[in-house]
Symmetry: C2
Subunit: 147 residues, 2 copies
């Protein structure tokens, strides 16, 4: 069956490609895609350094981009794939978007939304740890090179 290829890993790989693009630009390597009906409608990566803008996280750009594509601000029926656990800001934006599902790779035990206590929308489902090692390795490699 054709649908079998559309696993969480399938879309997380696309988010990882975005994270690699961020890495190559000297940005903290986080990538995101937003999917609806197995179709990617947004693909973004962190651009906080290039844009001098703390709001330019991959997830924030993905939310804006997906809403622009859909012509409406709510992301009901959409799934966000992001390589790193969202922060307070991104989780807060996802709350407003009422997105249906969030899939993230690596946990962020320092600044992630869970340790910070940020609330998601009650209808949002969360899957964590998809391709965790690959997602985490990219971030660790980035900070190792910066030292």
């Amino acid at each position: 069956m054709i649908e079998d290829i559309f696993t969480d890993e399938y879309f997380m790989k696309k988010a990882l490609q975005e994270a690699q693009e961020a890495f190559d630009k000297g940005e903290i390597p986080v990538g995101a895609v937003i999917v609806v009906d197995n179709k990617v409608i947004a693909r973004t990566h962190n651009l906080t350094e290039l844009l001098h803008d703390v709001t330019a996280h991959a997830e924030m750009q993905a939310i804006t981009s997906a809403a622009n594509f859909l012509g409406g601000k709510y992301l009901i029926g959409c799934t966000l794939y992001v390589t790193l656990e969202p922060c307070q800001m991104c989780a807060g934006a996802l709350y407003w978007s009422q997105i249906s599902k969030i899939v993230f790779g690596a946990a962020d035990t320092h600044r992630g939304y869970r340790v910070m206590g940020t609330k998601l929308h009650p209808k949002t489902k969360v899957v964590s740890g998809v391709m965790e090692n690959e997602c985490s390795a990219l971030v660790k490699d980035f900070f190792k090179r910066r030292r």
Copy 2:
């Protein structure tokens, strides 16, 4: 002394003018300005409906605009004046910006960052309740007309 005119009320009035512009466009009326050395470097209002974008809160736009003006992503030395208490997303963005001071008008007891438990940067000072009645009246009037 000339400095005496630059009170919190002085800048909150400018944020209220922005909130009125949002009101006139049919947006939830929230306005913001960012000030450094008594100079307004960003003035924005909520545009979530017009842009179909949950991330287009007044504060988010103000952070982006101020950072663009300053040429750097940190807002150390800056003060944000906003007519309504920031939400999780905006407080999360303010956390990353390391902004020095936040002054808000009306409290948001449902979706404000305090009731939601969002953390600000430890160096950020907060002043609340400046022109609270005026800020709150605009929001109440907006929702009354929508019913």
